[in-house]
C-alpha cells in the first residue's frame, strides 16, 4: 500500500554535492525541502575515522563507498549491434552512494572549464571553419557562457576553500598560475598545497620545454579555512588515502565539511536516507510533476507530493530517473531524434610512466588527491588544431595521488605479469617512478547514448540504464597527440625509460579510467537537442530541474566537479530569483 505524505515545497532526489547545496539555499530562503538519499547517513565522526578508513582492500578494491551494484548496476555495450550486458562489478567508473554522494570519495581536483568550452560548436566553426569537425560528432554550445558562470565558480571555490594560484585576474596574467585560464574575479581562497617531488620534477622539465606549469587547484586544503557558511576545514596532511576514501581530517571539501552541518540545522529541511526514488510522478497532462514515489529501506512505498522536483543524482542516474519517469523524448541513434540519453560522454584518459634510477627517491605515498603540477598548454583549444584532425585536448600533469600498493606498483613495459621477473620489477621501481595523467576531453558522438535496458532490472524491478559507448576517432587522435607531448616531458625529466600509453579503443568497463560520466540530459537553447534549458529546467515539465554533469553537452579537458558546482549556484540563483517568484518556463523555446 502506498502511503501519501504531506506535500512540501521542494523534493530533492539525491543528497550529494548538488542536492545539499540546493537544499541549503532553498531551505534558507524559507521553502520546505525534503531530501531523499538512497544511501546511509554518514559523517566524518564516526564513519570516516582512522584506522579503519585507511584500508586499501575495502575501499579501493572492494569499493565500499560505491553505489550498490548488486542492486543497481548498469548494462553496457560498445555499439548498438551488440547485446548490452550488466557491468557485474564496477571498474571503469565508480558512482558513490550515501549522504554526501560521490563527492565524499572524490580527489578534490577543482577546475574551471575555459570560456571556449561553453561555446564549443560556435568557437570551433569560427576558428577552424565549417568542414573541420568529424560529422559524427554532436557537440554543441551549452546555452550559458563562462562570464555568466564566473561569479558562481567563485562562490563554489570559496565554499570549498580551494587551494590554488590564479593565472588570470580580470584579464591580467599572473605569474605562477595558469596563463591559459579564463579571467577570474579574485584569487583562490587559499594558497596552493605544498608541491610533491613528482610535481617539482615535472615543473622544471615543462618550463625547460617552454610550457606553463602551475599547481593543481586542490580542495584538500593547504591551510585552515573558514568558509562563508561558517564551517572550518583543516590542513591536509598528504596521507595518500583520498580518492575512493572519505577524509578523516576535515581537510577535504565534501558536503560533510562545507555545508551539511548548516543544512541539517535548518528546520525547513528534512533528510530521509535509505529512500530509493522510483520515479517522478506526473499529472494527467504530463506537463507537471506532482512529486515522487520512493521505497524506504524497510520496503515501504511512499508518495511525496511537492511543487518542485529537483533531481540531483550522479550523471547516469539523472538520465535514468528521467527515462523511468517518462519525462522528455528518449534519444534514438537511428533517427537522431529524441533527447534523453543523447550526448553521453566521458573522459579520454591517457598516461605516461617514467622510470628512474634507484637514487631518485619519489615517495609516491606522500600525496593528496589533488596535489601536483600540470600544464594546460595542450588542453582545450589552447593550441592550434589546424592540420591535426581533431578538436579538444588534455591537461598533462604529475598529479599522482597515492602509492597504495595493491593498485600502485608500476613496472616498465615488457615486465612479466607474475613470477620473479614481476616481483623484481615491482621492488625496483615502486619508489622510483613518476606517473603523468593526461586528462582528455570527450566529444559527444551520434552513436553514443544511454537508454533503458530491455532485459536487466534493478532490485526494485525497474529497468537498468543501458550505456552504448565507444571512443570517437577524434578523441583517440587527440590522445595520441597529447601522449607524445607527455613522453617528451618525461624524457626531459631525465627518466631512464618513458612509456606513453595513449588511450585506445575499444572502451572497456574493466579498467578504471575516471568517474567523469557526462551528458544524457544535456542543457542548451534548442529543445530538439537538449533536455533542459540554460537553467537546467526540463523543457517538457517545467517544475522539474535536472542538475548534474548529465547537463554537459560534451566533456572538457578537466575534472567536471568545479563546473558542476558553478552550475549548481547558477541554478540556485535562477530558482530563488526567478522560478520560485513566478513558477513556469524560464525560457521560451
Amino acid at each position: 500500500m502506498v502511503q501519501r505524505l504531506k506535500e512540501v515545497d521542494v523534493v530533492v532526489i539525491g543528497v550529494g554535492m548538488v542536492g545539499s547545496i540546493l537544499s541549503k539555499e532553498l531551505a534558507a530562503a524559507g521553502y520546505k525541502v525534503v531530501g531523499l538519499e538512497r544511501g546511509q547517513t554518514r559523517f566524518t565522526v564516526p564513519e570516516f575515522q582512522s584506522p579503519a578508513i585507511h584500508d586499501e582492500l575495502r575501499f579501493d578494491i572492494r569499493k565500499a563507498l560505491m553505489q550498490d551494484n548488486t542492486r543497481e548496476p548498469v548494462t553496457f555495450r560498445n555499439s548498438s549491434s551488440q547485446t548490452a550486458l550488466p557491468v557485474r562489478r564496477w571498474e571503469s567508473f565508480l558512482p558513490g552512494t550515501g549522504l554526501g554522494g560521490s563527492m565524499v570519495h572524490w580527489n578534490g581536483q577543482t577546475y574551471r572549464f575555459h570560456a571556449t568550452d561553453f561555446q564549443l560548436a560556435t568557437h570551433t566553426r569560427e576558428r577552424y571553419g565549417k568542414g573541420f569537425l568529424d560529422p559524427d560528432l554532436t557537440i554543441q554550445d551549452w546555452g550559458v557562457t563562462y562570464d555568466e558562470l564566473e561569479p558562481h565558480y567563485d562562490r563554489f571555490e570559496y565554499l570549498l576553500g580551494t587551494s590554488g594560484k590564479a593565472g588570470n585576474l580580470h584579464g591580467q596574467v599572473q605569474p605562477g598560475g595558469d596563463p591559459h585560464e579564463s579571467p577570474r574575479s579574485r584569487e583562490y581562497p587559499t594558497p596552493p598545497q605544498k608541491e610533491h617531488f613528482q610535481g617539482a620534477m615535472f615543473r622544471k622539465a615543462a618550463m625547460g620545454l617552454g610550457y606553463h606549469p602551475f599547481p593543481q587547484p586542490s580542495s584538500n586544503l593547504s591551510q585552515p579555512y573558514t568558509n562563508p557558511e561558517g564551517l572550518k576545514l583543516n590542513t591536509c596532511v598528504f596521507c595518500g588515502f583520498c580518492e575512493r576514501y572519505a577524509c578523516e581530517h576535515y581537510a577535504k571539501s565534501t558536503p560533510q565539511t562545507f555545508i551539511l552541518p548548516v543544512l541539517l540545522a535548518n528546520p525547513n529541511f528534512e533528510l530521509r536516507t535509505g529512500c530509493q526514488v522510483q520515479r517522478i510522478n506526473l499529472d494527467s497532462t504530463k506537463k507537471r510533476a506532482t512529486g515522487v514515489t520512493y521505497i524506504d529501506a524497510a520496503g515501504r512505498e511512499f508518495e511525496q507530493p511537492a511543487s518542485l522536483v529537483i533531481t540531483s543524482l550522479f550523471a547516469i542516474n539523472n538520465v535514468r530517473m528521467m527515462l523511468l519517469s517518462g519525462i522528455g523524448k528518449p534519444y534514438d541513434p537511428g533517427t537522431g531524434k529524441g533527447v534523453v540519453g543523447r550526448n553521453y560522454a566521458y573522459q579520454t584518459m591517457s598516461s605516461v610512466a617514467s622510470f628512474f634510477d634507484e637514487d631518485v627517491i619519489i615517495n609516491p605515498f606522500m600525496a593528496s588527491g589533488a596535489s601536483g603540477t600540470l600544464i594546460n598548454d595542450f588542453a582545450g583549444d589552447n593550441f592550434d588544431h589546424s592540420g591535426l584532425g581533431f578538436i579538444g585536448g588534455a591537461f598533462i600533469g604529475a598529479v599522482n595521488t597515492n602509492g597504495r600498493p595493491i593498485q600502485y606498483h608500476p613496472t616498465p613495459p615488457g615486465t612479466p605479469k607474475w613470477g620473479k621477473g614481476w616481483k623484481d620489477a615491482v621492488v625496483k621501481y615502486y619508489n622510483h617512478s613518476v606517473m603523468f595523467s593526461l586528462h582528455g576531453s570527450s566529444m559527444s558522438q551520434r552513436q553514443n547514448y544511454a537508454d533503458l535496458d530491455p532485459t536487466y532490472r534493478d532490485a526494485w524491478g525497474q529497468p537498468l540504464l543501458r550505456i552504448t559507448f565507444e571512443f570517437p576517432q577524434n578523441d583517440l587522435k587527440m590522445a595520441e597527440y597529447v601522449t607524445a607531448r607527455g613522453v617528451e616531458i618525461g624524457k626531459a625529466m631525465g627518466a631512464k625509460q618513458v612509456a606513453g600509453a595513449p588511450r585506445k579503443g575499444p572502451y572497456t568497463t574493466q579498467q578504471y579510467q575516471t568517474t567523469h560520466n557526462t551528458g544524457g540530459t544535456v542543457m542548451g537553447s534548442d529543445p530538439s537537442t537538449s533536455v533542459v534549458n540554460r537553467y537546467l529546467q526540463s523543457w517538457d515539465v517545467p517544475n522539474v530541474f535536472v542538475v548534474g554533469a548529465s547537463a554537459y553537452p560534451q566533456n572538457a579537458s578537466w575534472n567536471p566537479t568545479g563546473t558542476l558546482g558553478a552550475l549548481t549556484y547558477w541554478v540556485a540563483d535562477a530558482l530563488k530569483n526567478k522560478y520560485l517568484k513566478n513558477p513556469g518556463h524560464l525560457v521560451t523555446a
Partner: protein, 257 residues
C-alpha cells in the same frame, strides 16, 4: 599472562625467523601429521601456534590447498628481495576471502540471463568466486589425477609452464575458462600480498617493507617537500594503530541529524 606451554614467539619474531628465502612447510603436511598421530601423542603444533603462523584452512580442502600454496608461491616467489606469497600468508588470505562475503558474491551483480560477453563487458559467468575456485580446482586436480601427479610435485619450471597454460586460456575447467580462473587467482594473490595484514596476508607487513610503503597511516605534511629523501619508518597496520588517530573536530559534534 600467557597460557603455559605457549612458546614465547611474537608474530613479528616468528616471521622474521622464517626469513626471506625460507618456505614454510605446507599446511597440508601438518594436517596429515595431526591426522595420523597416535592417540595420546604430543601434537606437533598448538592451536595458538597455528593461529600465529600456520593458517587454518576453512574454505580450501586438502587437495585444493596443495595447489593454491604451490601456485601462489610461483606467482610471487620468495627470492633475494624478500618473502614470497607463501611466507606472506597469501593462501590464508585467499581462504578467508573465498570463505566469506567476497566468495559468496559480495559486490557482484548476480542476476541472469547469463550470456557470453565481450572483453569490454567483463565477467559474465554465474559462478560466485567461491564456486569458481572450487569448480576450477576440482577440474585441475582431476587433470593431475589422470596423470598420477600433483601440481605441487612438479618442478618450479613445470609449475610455471602449467600456470602459463591456464593463463593462456587453453583449458576448460568444467565451465570455467582457465584464463578467468588464472586472472582471479593472480588478482587475489596480489591483493593478499599487499593488503593490510588484518586480512590474513602480507604477514608482518613483509610486502610493504619490501617496497618501502609506510602502511595504513602517516602524516607526511613535514616530509612532502623534502624532495628525494627516503622516508624511513616501520610500516603501520590498521591492527597496530595504537595512536587512535581519531580526528574530532573542535566545533562539529560527533553526531548530527
Amino acid at each position: 599472562m600467557k597460557p603455559p606451554n605457549t612458546p614465547h614467539v611474537s608474530r613479528r619474531s616468528f616471521v622474521a625467523g622464517v626469513g626471506a628465502a625460507t618456505v614454510l612447510p605446507p599446511a597440508t603436511a601438518l594436517l596429515t601429521d595431526s591426522a595420523q598421530a597416535a592417540p595420546g601423542a604430543v601434537r606437533p603444533k598448538s592451536a595458538v601456534q597455528a593461529s600465529a603462523g600456520q593458517p587454518v584452512y576453512l574454505f580450501f580442502n586438502v587437495a585444493e590447498v596443495q595447489f593454491i600454496e604451490a601456485a601462489c608461491e610461483r606467482l610471487i616467489p620468495a627470492d633475494d628481495s624478500g618473502a614470497g606469497a607463501l611466507a606472506a600468508g597469501v593462501p590464508n588470505y585467499l581462504d578467508k576471502q573465498l570463505g566469506g562475503a567476497w566468495g559468496a558474491g559480495e559486490r557482484l551483480y548476480c542476476s541472469g540471463p547469463w550470456l557470453p560477453g565481450t572483453a569490454s563487458q567483463g565477467y559474465q559467468l554465474p559462478f560466485t568466486p567461491a564456486e569458481l575456485f572450487h569448480t576450477a580446482l576440482r577440474a585441475i586436480n582431476h587433470d593431475f589425477k589422470k596423470r598420477s601427479s600433483r601440481f605441487s610435485d612438479l618442478s618450479a619450471d613445470a609449475q610455471d609452464a602449467y600456470l602459463k597454460t591456464l593463463e593462456g586460456g587453453a583449458m576448460d575447467l568444467d565451465g570455467v575458462p582457465s584464463a578467468v580462473f588464472f586472472d582471479m587467482l593472480l588478482r587475489m594473490t596480489v591483493e593478499g600480498f599487499f593488503s593490510d595484514p588484518v586480512y590474513g596476508g602480507n604477514r608482518d607487513m613483509v610486502a610493504w617493507r619490501m617496497i618501502g610503503f609506510p602502511g595504513a597511516y602517516a602524516d607526511y605534511y613535514e616530509a612532502i617537500d623534502r624532495h628525494g629523501v627516503k622516508f624511513v619508518r616501520e610500516p603501520l597496520s590498521i591492527g597496530e594503530d595504537r595512536h587512535g588517530n581519531v580526528h574530532v573536530h573542535s566545533e562539529i559534534p560527533a553526531s548530527i541529524g
